[in-house]
């Protein structure tokens, strides 16, 4: 007898017309009942294909089984064995490309909503005051400096502190979290959640020092005198430009500046917060990644009437998560596909964007069809433009530490185990891969922590 698989319980979201009026979180999370129901769909495959899809190797079927049994605290402990920040990863991981993609149910229907369940467990633990993070009883008498408090640095710090290392995290900005605080918007990842998760790092004995720019305030050489090892997770975040005429006009932002003003500096609360931002009525966001979606949806919440995503290929080639594209569509972002910006027009401020129509050709080196100019142009009226066409790795550390070799894109070269070309220095995350996801960076952090532990205990 064939059993028809039950359909997935969708994670509840606030209606689009309501959520675009504020910066509160879009997804509201499962109730206990919904979580149990969704968890009950899991068929508990003995070979656990989903775990192989998780860069940090969370024992997914085991935590899901605990949810089904209403043993949420145990479920939380299972996740925390491998992932120090489940409230964050449950929200921002691209599960559909990782654990959920490997889920056996995906082949016959809909995969288990692993991300939504992870989030449920983490939020439940926070609500019920479950704190399992504490400083290990024994210190092993070695210290590690972690440069950057983004996803890679958080995992390195957490893994090593649990092993009894004295870990100090150096963050350049005024609050820790890296891209989790300056990049990802409040409506996708509330900063309160980030703060709660980072507080747990302090609970296990990690020191976080803000305002230290490694390469400027202190050098890697200084750190090596003080610490047994140094991990560099300084991220990407050096924005690229289109290099087209008119790019210097007023009200053209890089996505990094736009999002930093809004997320980190809270410009959406101006003048209660001092940092201003131009809100605009007609906004063009150039690019097709998650950053572009974040910027477009932010612009809507700042009150724009028309927000365009301008992308040179088609929806199918967009690098953004499907969920984010769908959210943007639901909220009324308009998509202009197969167009490439050729010029910004305006007197002192940007007034229009001239676009050349493209068609798709043969695949390029990224495997995606190459956009080919057609010669035909259109012009759209805008009063704000945001460029979200990617980043280069942050050059500060390689520039001041020549022993750390980089490739032609400025990415730090590491071996498979995250060792750089400089002894006792390790690296991971976007500074190594260019542009990755939060969980990929966390995977790097896990690898680096393992290698650091191995190297420091083998001698």
């Amino acid at each position: 007898m064939m059993v028809k698989p039950k359909t997935r319980i969708p994670i509840p979201k606030r209606p689009a017309e309501e959520r675009i009026k504020d910066f509160n979180e879009v997804a509201v999370g499962y109730t206990e009942k919904e979580a149990i129901e969704e968890a009950s769909r899991c068929i508990q495959c003995p070979d656990k294909p989903c775990v192989a899809g998780c860069p940090v190797g969370v024992d997914i079927p085991r935590f899901i089984k605990f949810i089904r049994e209403k043993r949420f605290e145990e479920a939380y402990k299972v996740i925390k064995e491998r992932c120090p920040i489940p409230a964050i990863t449950g929200r921002v991981c691209p599960q559909e490309k990782q654990c959920e993609k490997m889920c056996r149910l995906a082949k016959i229907g809909q995969s288990i909503a692993i991300g939504a369940l992870e989030r449920f467990v983490a939020d439940w633990a926070e609500e019920h005051g479950i704190y399992i993070d504490k400083k290990p009883d024994q210190q092993i008498g070695k210290s590690v400096a972690v440069v950057g408090s983004g996803p890679a640095g958080i995992v390195v710090a957490s893994d090593l502190a649990r092993l009894g290392y004295q870990v100090t995290v150096f963050e350049a900005l005024h609050v820790p979290g890296g891209v989790l605080v300056y990049g990802i918007p409040e409506f996708r990842l509330p900063k309160k959640i980030v703060n709660e998760e980072l507080k747990k790092l302090k609970d296990i004995g990690v020191d976080i020092e803000t305002g230290v720019i490694v390469g400027k305030t202190v050098t890697v050489y200084d750190l090596l005198k003080e610490f047994d090892a140094v991990f560099i997770g300084s991220g990407a975040g050096n924005p690229r430009f289109l290099n087209i005429p008119g790019e210097d006009l007023g009200r053209i932002y890089t996505a990094n500046e736009y999002l930093t003003r809004v997320n980190l500096m809270r410009a959406y609360m101006f003048p209660a917060y001092d940092t201003p931002i131009h809100k605009g009525k007609r906004v063009a966001v150039i690019g097709g990644g998650n950053t572009a979606m974040d910027a477009a949806r932010t612009a809507l919440r700042l009150g724009a009437e028309e927000v365009y995503i301008v992308y040179r290929r088609t929806r199918r080639e967009m690098p953004a998560r499907e969920e984010e594209i769908a959210n943007a569509e639901e909220e009324g972002v308009k998509f202009l596909f197969l167009v490439q910006p050729v010029e910004f027009l305006g007197k002192s401020k940007v007034e229009a964007l001239k676009l050349e129509k493209m068609r798709l050709g043969e695949p390029d080196e990224t495997g995606r069809p190459r956009p080919i100019p057609t010669g035909e142009t259109i012009t759209i009226d805008i009063d704000i433009a945001i460029t979200a066409i990617g980043f280069n790795p942050n050059p500060l550390i390689p520039k001041t530490t020549p022993e750390i070799k980089t490739d032609e894109h400025g990415r730090i070269i590491v071996d498979k185990e995250a060792r750089t070309t400089m002894p006792r220095v390790y690296a991971g995350g976007d500074i190594v891969v260019g542009e990755g996801t939060v969980i990929e960076a966390m995977g790097w952090g896990r690898t680096a922590a393992r290698t650091i532990h191995k190297d420091l205990t083998s001698t």
């Binding site: 005024h174 210097d248 890089t254 001092d274």
Partner: protein
């Protein structure tokens, strides 16, 4: 002493404050020409301020700033014993100090203080330092004694003629250059229009000029691109590629234009803030 605690504070003149802040890591790494990003409070803007002086042993850095916007007003209202919310630095590249021969230092307004550590470093490197300092009136001529102490000559201008040459400091420089003054290098800091005028003048006389730029900045570490400027038609970030550039290569119109990007918002916020604190400002 706590990190970022204010250990000294004084009003140099109306609306210009000098502040020493406990920031030992910054103090030990600082070099002339570098700056810090400062936040007075959690809601405040990140503002770039040039390091005016520092002591590694004392663990402090000295900042001089003018109360012009909400964030600088809030900073100015803080007192000894209070802690700044955030200080990050030293940022930017240090001034290229070398023995050039005669170096003319040109500085206007509150930036006279910013010129001081650079002038001192040029002097210590064995240069003849000729300083040109200017302000709207004689009361606003801050740091004149500091500058005098490390300069071989000091030339003063005021817009209203209350002291020295009546007119802009760049006009004074121009006059001296026309009279045969031949510096090997001009180093200029001040309001962007003043630096642009200086660049125009020195180009005419063929004297290489380094300008320390002051665009709007947010992150200060090469991430956001708010401080981008065009140098020889290439996009450069003031925070990581500067803050000093060859003045002749700078697209001054773009810099001036970008500096005024938030003028409306700034004056709106300042008005609200001053009203809420019951402060009346005549300026």
């Amino acid at each position: 002493m706590m990190n970022f605690e204010i250990i000294n504070r004084k009003n140099l003149t109306e609306g210009i404050v000098e502040m020493d802040v406990h920031a030992p890591r910054v103090a030990c790494a600082a070099r002339p020409g570098q700056f810090v990003i400062v936040m007075a409070c959690e809601e405040c803007e990140r503002i770039p301020l040039t390091l005016v002086d520092w002591s590694c042993r004392g663990g402090w850095i000295r900042l001089v700033f003018q109360e012009v916007g909400v964030s600088t007003y809030k900073l100015g209202m803080m007192d000894v014993g209070e802690r700044l919310y955030h200080v990050a630095g030293p940022l930017g590249n240090p001034t290229h100090i070398d023995k050039f021969g005669t170096v003319a230092i040109v500085a206007g307004g509150v930036a006279i203080a910013a010129a001081y550590p650079i002038a001192r470093a040029f002097k210590e490197a064995g240069n003849t330092v000729v300083s040109f300092i200017g302000a709207r009136n004689s009361r606003l001529l801050i740091y004149r004694d500091h500058i005098a102490k490390i300069s071989d000559e000091v030339h003063i201008s005021t817009d209203d003629g209350s002291e020295g040459f009546k007119g802009f400091v760049t006009q004074l420089l121009e006059k001296r250059l026309a009279d045969g003054f031949k510096p090997d290098l001009v180093w200029v800091v001040g309001p962007a229009p003043m630096m642009r005028s200086c660049s125009v003048v020195t180009k005419r006389f063929g004297v290489k000029t380094i300008a320390s730029l002051n665009p709007i900045m947010v992150c200060g570490m090469g991430m956001c691109g708010a401080c981008r400027v065009r140098i020889k038609n290439e996009i450069r970030f003031t925070c990581v590629d500067g803050p000093e550039f060859d003045a002749w290569d700078v697209d001054w119109d773009e810099l001036l234009h970008r500096l005024s990007a938030y003028r409306e918002e700034e004056s709106y916020a300042l008005k609200l803030f001053l009203e809420s604190r019951g402060i009346k400002v005549s300026r």
